[in-house]
Subunit: 339 residues, 2 copies
DNA sequence: TTGTAGGCGTTATCAA
DNA sequence: TTGATAACGCCTACAA
């Protein structure tokens, strides 16, 4: 169809050699007489020939594309991950197919099938909890790396944050700053939320603070859902004196809720969460968070994937990266509060 | 290579028909005896057959992939665009190849070549100014839609904001609120910056306010660059009483600079810019901006592209969408300032 | 060292 | 209505 479509055959004719010779010159490996090599390269130049990657992929049964399947690229965590992945891929000569699942298992399945049908070299995937039980039986026969979420009982490369530990530290930080009634909003679709809840609960227990069911909520990781649930939690008879949120979208909704209720931070209520975003430092007070090393997570995931593509039988690895507690004004100790 | 790789040939054998018949059943167009159709569908089901899209693409000379080439997916504007594009693509059965160019003309060329080599159905592209002169001579023979930036002298579908007009309105808003010394930070890599500068200058002229060269800066659209240049502008003998920024990254850097200089907004200085981000409403005071309809821009670009893919000879269109001025606290009138 | 030829999995043409 | 068969563009035994 394409006008400028010039194939290896035409190059061969132009150079007066066979297509095999052209192919050899291009793969640059084999022995080709310098003179012929020269002729071929001139023909390539003259005709502006570029190998058709589709044909190459069909023939070689592999491709230079990897898939990146996340819930929503607009989640700053995934935005950053995707950039890091794309960078690594670019350096390796790969390109990235971007897929948003909206935490919808159906879309996840569809995209996994697409990855198979399209013969990608591999996939970096952040799955919902629902899909995971099916994961073993699903038709993914390509290399895969899981990011951000853990998949128990499946032998697969994984890059994770130390979620339990990070949530524990974040919660302990609040407690040691004098906060006791710590409301917590967790995403309900991922294992990450569960793990962070565990860290939160362990920290409370370790400090002898009872769990209050009304202070623990699970929700879709969306701004609106979070706004709504945070607002209702703020209207409890014994409203929390601190809010812990398990990702930046939930934090955004919670902050909107605090603003709408005219509460000052941290005088009326503290706010902490996960993920560095442009705004955690821009709002006043700045927000105390666990910063995830998103660049490194993305880069590590890509590295793992390329290693597995290179050596499919390689033993799988689970890499756990540490989050960093960034203490800021939103969780200033009670005794420092204005009276 | 793949274990589960089952081809049309095996389906044909299983069903006791030819591959042609299987193909016909799958493309569902041709006339096939119901009984055979049934047998084929059973075989497909039994073998879990899925067509190999690479082979299909090679044969049909078209693909179900589109390219999205932007400067940086982490720019909230492009984050949002990419999500909208992916949504539209998904609905049309296409998937999206994501490319970050970092405003680097070399990377732009490489990615455009990749798009050609990979035989994508089309490309949505946000080009630098540098690449545009080459654009006509570059080997892009695929359908293309330009977003966010204008390409003069090239006949190509385009989706744009009314940049001149929007910047004019934003500047006029500042002026009518009593601000006179309006510093402005524009991105230097895109036509967008230039157009917004024009709107800014026209507004000043229309109100009889002289242009001050020191108040006009061009920079890489990055937070750090913006922070640096904003800081130096704030240290001018006659520092600006308002800052206009041409995208959200520049606005972010400028806001950091204001914070670092301990200036209050809008008492000491006003701040306005382009693009809705999570934080324009979360910081206090909220930031006055021109909101771009990113969802619509992305959707429109995708629509244009699919239409062009369907009818390559279709006359090109330039679609200009209107930005919306969102007046907020960061540009409150001078006479309302605390004295 | 070079060329011929077959096949990757599809679809489309042409006979039957 | 169905089935051989020939491409799509590339790579790679194998033969020369």
């Amino acid at each position: 169809m394409r006008s400028g479509m010039v194939s290896i055959k035409e190059v061969a004719e132009e150079a007066g050699v066979s297509t095999a010779t052209v192919s050899r010159v291009l793969s640059s490996s084999d022995h080709v007489r310098p003179e012929l090599r020269q002729r071929v390269m001139e023909a390539v130049e003259k005709l502006q020939y570029r190998p058709n990657l589709v044909a190459r992929s069909l023939r070689s049964q592999q491709s230079n594309t990897i898939g990146l399947i996340v819930s929503d690229i607009r989640n700053p965590f995934f935005t950053s991950i995707s950039r890091a992945v794309e960078d690594s891929a670019y350096k390796q000569g790969f390109s990235v197919l971007l897929c948003n699942t909206d935490e919808d298992p159906e879309k996840e399945k569809i995209y996994l099938q697409l990855m198979r049908d399209t013969n990608v070299a591999g996939v970096i995937f952040s799955p919902t909890r629902q899909i995971m039980s099916d994961l073993a039986s699903l038709p993914f026969d390509f290399p895969m790396v899981i990011v951000d979420r853990s998949v128990p009982d499946v032998d697969v490369d994984t890059v994770l944050l130390d979620n339990v530990e990070s949530a524990y530290r974040l919660t302990s930080h609040l407690i040691s700053n004098g906060f006791r009634r710590i409301g917590a909003l967790f995403g309900e679709t991922s294992t990450t939320g569960i793990q962070r809840q565990r860290g939160y609960e362990e920290a409370l227990k370790a400090h002898g603070i009872p769990l209050v069911p009304e202070y623990i909520k699970h929700l879709q990781p969306r701004v609106e859902a979070s706004y709504k649930i945070a607002t209702s939690m703020l209207q409890l008879p014994h409203a929390p004196d601190a809010l812990l949120t398990s990702n930046s979208l939930i934090m955004e909704g919670a902050l909107q809720a605090l603003r709408a209720c005219n509460l000052s931070i941290p005088e009326d209520i503290a706010l902490v969460g996960f993920d560095e975003t442009p705004w955690t430092l821009l709002v006043q007070p700045a927000i105390t968070i666990i910063a995830q090393p998103t660049d490194e997570i993305g880069k590590t995931a890509a590295d793992l994937l390329f290693q597995r593509i290179a050596i499919p039988t390689r033993p799988t690895r689970q890499i756990i990266l540490k989050g960093q507690l960034m203490v800021r004004g939103s969780s200033t100790p009670l005794h420092l509060k204005a009276m």
